[in-house]
């Protein structure tokens, strides 16, 4: 008998089942909130980067330089380290650094900078001729930024956000190691720490299904947008 192989019977449905469900709920909560907050803030940063760059609609070296530096500084920080750096700030904001709600702060922080580069890339891919055509109608630059840029890049943007969703699921699992709850914490506490690999593998399965579902929805939506 190879003991490294988990036995399915090690997963105790009456004990682990409700815990797994609770952890899944926490993960979905953290990931969704992060996608909303980080997605929105990242979009704002991306629009700032895209419009203030050289020859951009609102070209401004100062603003571009500042935002670009900000993104370059924070984006490469490994998430585990970021968790620690942001913790005091989280306590100030939420009152605690523990639990799923508190974890949304560092997750959103990391997601904001990740999203900003991905969205920026999608915006750069917009045909400049389309923007020129909009300017030729007399549209103000702000109108173009607010009503045209995102719709024109929507197909790739949906795929970009799908990618980000998967990355956030990954990061949220790490959050579990610092008392953040969610599937990562569940696999750690009930699986790894007790050497119960049935729990670890079933958690993996749930995460894979979650990611597959997100990817399928993202692919479908973007295809729908691109095919028009």
């Amino acid at each position: 008998m190879i003991t490294a192989l988990p036995a399915a019977s090690d997963f105790d449905w009456s004990l682990h089942g409700p815990k797994l469900l609770e952890a899944l709920g926490q993960t979905v909560y953290m990931v969704t909130a992060t996608l909303l907050i980080g997605g929105l803030l990242g979009m704002v940063l991306a629009l700032a980067l895209y419009t203030t760059r050289r020859d951009g609609l609102l070209a401004n070296r100062g603003v571009f330089g500042f935002v670009n530096l900000l993104v370059n500084v924070f984006r490469p920080i490994p998430f585990l380290i970021l968790l620690m750096i942001v913790a005091p700030f989280t306590v100030e904001l939420i009152g605690t650094r523990l639990g799923s709600t508190a974890m949304i702060v560092p997750l959103s922080f990391a997601a904001t900078f990740g999203v900003s580069r991905i969205v920026e890339q999608n915006l750069v891919a917009i045909d400049p001729g389309v923007i020129e055509a909009a300017r030729a109608t007399g549209a103000s630059r702000w109108r173009i930024v607010l009503t045209l840029l995102v719709p024109e890049a929507l197909g790739p943007l949906i795929l970009g956000y799908t990618f980000v969703f998967v990355a956030i699921v990954d990061m949220s699992a790490l959050a579990g190691t610092l008392d953040g709850g969610g599937l990562g914490a569940f696999a750690l506490d009930y699986g790894y720490k007790r050497w119960n690999f049935a729990v670890v593998w079933i958690t993996v399965l749930v995460i894979v299904l979650l990611v597959q579902l997100a990817q399928a929805i993202g692919n479908r939506l973007s295809r729908r947008v691109l095919r028009r």
């Binding site: 045909d127 389309v130 020129e132 030729a136 109608t137 007399g138 549209a139 109108r143 045209l148 028009r228």
Partner: protein, 339 residues
């Protein structure tokens, strides 16, 4: 008629690592209200920049550029935005908004101009009917052919009832048949709506088809300008002659001419044909002078409702009699020795 667009010593300089580039260099031009004005030049001649100066997509470096009463060189970006509502523009690659339907594309400038929804809808229907795409209102640009896309581009450009339409290589991405359709539509825009059109192109055929007057641009400067008929029939600048020779092949040159000399003894001359050239009478009298003639090369067409072209003749006979025939030909039209 009075000028609606007037360039007065307009220059546009772009900074570049290799030193400043004068894309438009001291241009003086007047474009009359209601005309179709062509600007022709090879790529890099500065014509795209020239047209973008008119609606302020590129800002004038020096000089005055009066567009419908305002010097666009001095307008602020805000004032320019207002000005652009009176200037439509269409593009080589159409530049439609892929995220919006045909109707949505046409609606965009109307929203910019602050039209209420009901008025917008009525105007959109009117425009799509004008360009013949009423049944495609709810299609997306990706579902249209190139010609249809340019029709949407034209409808969008005309939406807010501009006085001027700028057409930047508007047919260069289209096949010959579709090009003709779009040019016909532009003609209709000019004659039925009275909109002044500035057509930028590298194809003389386009100028020939719709322009009243034309400016030939080279290295950011106007090499020559004038009525299309004059430019075609009497091109002065080298660059113009090169353009004209690409569409008009009515004079034998090079190998063609050598072959004609071998097969036809005597003198070879080319006579220009225009309305009122009475070549026939002169040639009919050649026989009585002992001169035989043969028509060896040529072509006659119509340009702006006037005949024009040339015929190359081989004249054979006693030398002084041939000279008499040539002299008589010169009385009715211009004659050149074939060279």
């Amino acid at each position: 008629m009075s000028p609606i667009i007037e360039f007065r010593d307009v220059t546009k300089v772009f900074p570049s690592p290799g030193g400043p580039i004068r894309a438009v260099d001291g241009v003086d031009l007047s474009i009359e209200a209601g005309e179709v004005f062509g600007v022709i030049g090879y790529s890099g001649a500065g014509k795209s920049t020239l047209v973008r100066l008119i609606n302020g997509l590129e800002r004038v470096t020096s000089g005055e550029l009066i567009v419908d009463g305002d010097d666009v060189a001095t307008l602020t970006e805000r004032q320019l935005e207002r000005k652009r509502r009176d200037i439509g523009m269409i593009f080589q690659q159409f530049n439609l908004f892929s995220s919006r339907t045909v109707a949505g594309n046409v609606a965009f400038p109307l929203k910019v101009a602050g039209w209420p929804k009901a008025d917008r809808d009525r105007r959109i229907a009117e425009l799509l009917d004008f360009v013949g795409l009423l049944d495609r209102a709810h299609s997306y640009p990706d579902q249209l052919s190139g010609g249809q896309k340019q029709r949407v581009g034209i409808a969008r450009a005309l939406a807010a009832s501009p006085k001027i339409l700028l057409a930047d290589e508007s047919t260069s991405a289209l096949d010959p048949q579709t090009t003709q359709d779009v040019l016909r539509l532009l003609r209709k825009v000019n004659t039925e709506l009275g909109i002044t059109i500035v057509v930028i192109t590298h194809e003389l055929e386009v100028v020939r088809a719709i322009a009243d007057r034309v400016a030939v641009l080279e290295n950011g400067r106007v090499a020559e300008h004038g009525p299309v008929f004059d430019i075609f029939t009497r091109p002065q600048a080298d660059v113009t002659q090169r353009f004209v020779s690409t569409v008009i092949h009515d004079r034998p040159r090079g190998a063609n001419l050598d072959r004609l000399r071998q097969t036809h003894p005597g003198r070879i001359v080319t006579a220009t044909i225009a309305d009122g050239s009475r070549l026939g009478g002169v040639l009919a009298s050649a026989g009585s002078l002992g001169v035989t003639f043969e028509i060896v090369y040529g072509g006659i067409g119509t340009l702006q409702d006037q005949s024009f072209g040339s015929l190359t003749l081989a004249l054979d006979g006693p030398e002084h009699q041939v000279e008499t025939v040539v002299a008589r030909l010169r009385e009715v039209t211009s004659v050149e020795e074939a060279r």
